[in-house]
């Protein structure tokens, strides 16, 4: 289990969120809810097609936008009461460990975007090659430093290439030949 989550008897995992983070997210909710509500209000009500106010396309999103504004305000009030408005109460930058953790998630995201959208989508590279490059690079990026520390660099590289090649072959084969799915 990670350092910041713990299993509680009330059910589920609990993550510590600072009141300031709640306050900021509450503002985002209010802004988003307002945008939705205003866009719904200005939406064509299709009266020319005989729509009544209660069949207007903007009715439901408008109500949902208003509810999100209301809930956002409730969250803002709660967060402010808990001290979220005091800007210096908690450090803005996460600890070194927290930064490293966020950086890892960030790298996964970048790799995922490059693979899914860049290579598979528009790159003109065949699917199997894109998958091979992605899986191999991913394992090298996240695994090699730890392997190097244990003097297992070569083993790490071989593993990365083997898993990359295996995944590329298996996924291409299974999807195309067994599931009959067209690949990107």
């Amino acid at each position: 289990m990670s350092a910041e989550t713990e299993t509680t008897e009330s059910g589920g995992t609990e993550i510590e969120v600072s009141p300031r983070a709640d306050l900021i997210s509450a503002f985002v909710w209010v802004a988003f809810g307002l945008a939705v509500a205003i866009a719904s209000w200005r939406m064509d009500r299709l009266e020319s097609q005989g729509a009544t106010p209660y069949t207007a396309p903007g009715l439901v999103p408008g109500i949902l936008g208003a509810i999100m504004v209301l809930l956002g305000i409730m969250l803002a009030v709660r967060a402010a009461r808990a001290g979220g408005h005091r800007l210096g109460a908690t450090p803005w930058l996460p600890s070194a460990g927290g930064r490293a953790a966020m950086a890892r998630a960030g790298w996964v995201l970048v790799m995922g975007l490059l693979y899914a959208a860049g290579m598979v989508g528009h790159g003109g590279i065949p699917f199997w090659l894109a998958t091979f490059i992605f899986v191999t690079l991913f394992i090298l990026l996240f695994d090699l430093r730890a392997r190097a520390a244990k003097d297992e660099t070569v083993k790490g590289i071989v593993l990365a290439i083997a898993v990359g090649a295996g995944t590329a072959f298996l996924v291409s084969y299974v999807f195309q030949e067994l599931f009959l799915v067209r690949l990107p």
Binding site: G11, P57, L59, L113, F134, F138, I139, F142, T167, F179
Partner: protein
Amino acid sequence: MGLALMTTLTLKMQPAQALLVLICTYVGAIYGGSRSAILLNIPGTPASAASCLDGHALARQGQAGRAMGIATSGSVLGTLIGMFFLALFTPVLGELALKFGAYEFFWLTVFGVVISGTLTGNDPLKGWMAGFLGLFVAAIGQEGIYAFERFNFGNRDLAGGIALVPALVGAFGFAELLAVMKARRLPVKINPFDTVIPKLVDITRHWKTILRSGCIGTFIGIVPGVGEDIAAWSSYAAAKRASKEPEKFGKGSIDGLMAAETGDNACVPGAVIPVLTLAIPGSAPAAVLMAAMLIHGVQPGPMIMIQSPQFVYDVVAMMMFATIGILFYGLTLTKLMTRVLQVPQTVMVPIILVLCTVGSFAIAGRLFDVWVMLGFGILGFILKQLNYPMAPLVLGIVLGDLMEKSLRRGLVLSDGSLAPFFTRPISLVIWVIIALIIALRFDAVRALPRRLVAALAR
């Protein structure tokens, strides 16, 4: 996550085959989560969190094999009890569902989102926000009456709406991968264990717990939007209250582990009951299952008992296969399966990411769905970091369409009057429950009875 991914893998199969695979995945995942809970103290799915307490305590005492045997027997018996109620209640509830009109369906969808927001996670306010966001997501694209395009900003793909499965794969799959890599688990050491074959005495001595947890689990499954994790915790709490040795709970109580495992697996057939009869999922994975049924041309809902009553019993039979599956694999393959736990995350994550991408693309063969998957992954990750639960969001996305249709249809039928929404008997019951659920989250309301009693005493 497994279920969402399997949905994309089973697209081209025959509907019956695909649903059998998916139901086995669903039952198997809820059961399989107990393995890592017992051996590593990490719940494989949220449903197994309650099993960590006593399961891992037993493992630390050198009884991991016995704990897994109890988990297997509890899960098998729980699924059987749930299955019994699935076969028994679905026709009855289906009959009742025929009395439901637009007004009742509207309140039921709201009820699902509100109760899921209240009970999953630990912050009801954030749960409701996630739920209403989900309902809004469902409103993107062409609406049902005039095919008017909403919130698509001129984008053709977006005009078709956000497809369910890529959004689910993103919210459950990609978001989870980001969270897993952020938390980074170190290579694990697994407690050694002996035989995993359950002792008969462990089952017979706890028959009351099994029956009680089976009923609680099934009931919680039926309630729209409340899933396996709540079923496990409720069964656990009930077993603790009824136990003669409550002090043993959390320290390796057989009763506690049996309750949690029976409860969460009984919830699976339970959660399928409202899917079949009302087209309203009883839990987040059941929502994914319902999305898969729709893809395969099965239209769940009140008409199912009239149009294809056989299908309900097909589902019961599929559950039976799944139960046999977990019994067989649970007893024979545990040693092999625990090896999977030792595969480093850095190897698992890119492979699963490839599957998420290919799976999302495979549904309609368009790149837009891959973007949807990535977008919902990022959204889900951010929301998770801020302690917003995923289940209400997913439920909102699944129920949004029915909610909107029911509201507008109801308003047209009543010529704009809100009265039928509040006065029809079934509607009345549902909206009063919703109001109570929301009101009871406020301290002022909870303190009201005490103040009234105090005032009367004076």
